[in-house]
Amino acid sequence: MIELRGIVKSFGRPVLRDITMHVPAGCLYGLIGPGASGKSVLLKIVTGLMRPDAGSVHIDGRDVLSMTDLELQEFRKRIGMLFQNNALFDFMTVAENIAFPLRRLFDLPEPEIRERVAERLACVSLPGFEGRMPSGLSGGQKKRVGVARATVIQAPIVLYDEPAAGLDPVTSQKIFDLLRAEQQASGATVLMVSSDLDRMLTVTDRVGMMYKGRLIFDGTTAEAYASDDPFVHQFVHGIPEGPL
């Protein structure tokens, strides 16, 4: 369960304004909104990578903001994250990238690590890519390697920042279906940011919409589709004319 209360963040200008949000345990929560509305910053605050100016973050009842660096390191074993820019280590091979969280966070034997890396690569349709360098991959392939790395530790909390950006529609749908299947199998709590609304909303349980640093909608996916709020309606249905 992820619980945010009164989150405020400013970088010279306000980016997040009094965000209060609740992601129930085992829920696949989609966070939508126009660009620069603060979605990625919110994800980083949830992980403790960024500190808010005010507010509190509780994950499974634990106060993230009061944790020491060591406590945070330990706590991050419970969080998997896909970054917006994939954040693949460019000095490591694909296999080393995916294995990195396993090697750092868990004491697993090498054969098991190799097996899990191969299994993850097969899941994202990149079998045999173990020895490739990130610089030799296309944007979509990098994204899929990022997804493989985010899911390899099978964390109970998973955050995805644009998991389908740069992917073709078929691969994009495959990725969303994969993320949904994994979430259902593991029961993980997932917070996902994506601009690919049509596909993301086919897999989410709940949706929140952010606009100019505020959470202006929080409800089920069906409620988002049916909402008569002009902002939500325009954004969800992709209507060019409107208040956005």
Binding site: S10, Q73, F89, L105, R214, I216, D228, P230, G242
Partner: protein
């Protein structure tokens, strides 16, 4: 309910121009001073963390050797060429100036060697390394920050200071000392050639170590180690505090070169002063 009414009810009253105003006048001065203090504390914290991880951090086979190659081998030609020319210029200028006062240049080599050992080789060499190595470290770490690789490291419980800075710190201390020692030899060699070619000083006369004592060696070695430690810490701090995109990386690189060079000059002042107090002139 109209569209406008809906809009105001869901979004609320958002002041789009709610930027924090930049301070002016005395407030700007105070803000600048505060920023300087905060940066100083953060730099100190990075330094302490680097020392901590040097002792207690995770061992990564090959990481230090790779950085030694990057910092040492790749700087060798640049440093040797610069120090070679510095050696020639200094001996030529010193020879001309000395001849105006006394015709005897027999101690030119001895004084040149003392100058090289005590100060010049370490300081000039470190300034050159600050430009080449400092810029490289800041650009590399800075681009990792803007592409979120540093955040990804943190998510995997890898402190970027331990993972990125520590190998560079150890490699820089070792390689700065080695490079500067070799570069001093190059500078002395080119100086000796200049003395022979322009002032007819016999190389046997030029190679005179009578003026170099344990104090000079201690001060010179201390400088090598201090500069070798300061360059990666200052540059790494600049890289880790990169903000924004490629423009931010550019600024981080510039800051790294300027601040590393400044740190070399400031350390030189303090180490030279301490050396003077302990060992005399």
């Amino acid at each position: 309910m109209t569209t406008e009414q809906h809009a105001s009810s869901s979004v609320g009253n958002i002041d789009e121009d709610a930027y924090v105003k930049a301070p002016t006048g005395l407030a700007a001065l105070g803000a600048g001073a505060l920023e300087f203090v905060v940066a100083g504390r953060m730099l100190y914290s990075v330094f302490v963390k680097t020392l901590y991880y040097t002792v207690r951090g995770v061992r990564r086979p090959g990481a230090i050797a790779q950085q030694m190659y990057e910092i040492g081998n790749r700087s060798m030609v640049f440093l040797f060429v610069v120090m070679g020319f510095i050696g020639m210029i200094l001996v030529y200028q010193a020879g001309i100036q000395t001849k105006r006062v006394v015709p005897d240049l027999s101690l030119l080599g001895a004084t040149f060697l003392e100058l090289l050992v005590r100060d010049l080789a370490a300081s000039i060499g470190a300034l050159m390394l600050a430009t080449r190595v400092g810029a490289g470290i800041a650009a590399e770490i800075g681009s990792m920050v803007v592409t979120e690789q540093v955040d990804a490291l943190r998510m995997c419980a890898a402190d970027p200071v331990d993972y990125l800075l520590k190998p560079r710190f150890i490699a820089s201390i070792v390689m700065t000392t080695v490079l500067i020692t070799l570069a001093a030899g190059v500078a002395f060699g080119t100086g000796m050639w200049t003395g022979y070619a322009f002032f007819d000083i016999n190389p046997r006369t030029f190679v005179n170590m009578s003026m170099v004592d344990a104090g000079d060696l201690t001060v010179g070695l201390t400088k090598c180690i201090a500069y070798g430690a300061a360059i990666p810490v200052v540059s790494g701090y600049c890289g880790l505090t990169t903000f924004g995109g490629s423009e931010g990386v550019g600024w981080a690189t510039t800051r790294a070169v300027v601040n590393s060079s400044l740190s070399v000059i400031i350390l030189n002042f303090f180490i030279s002063g301490a050396g003077f107090l302990v060992f005399g002139g």
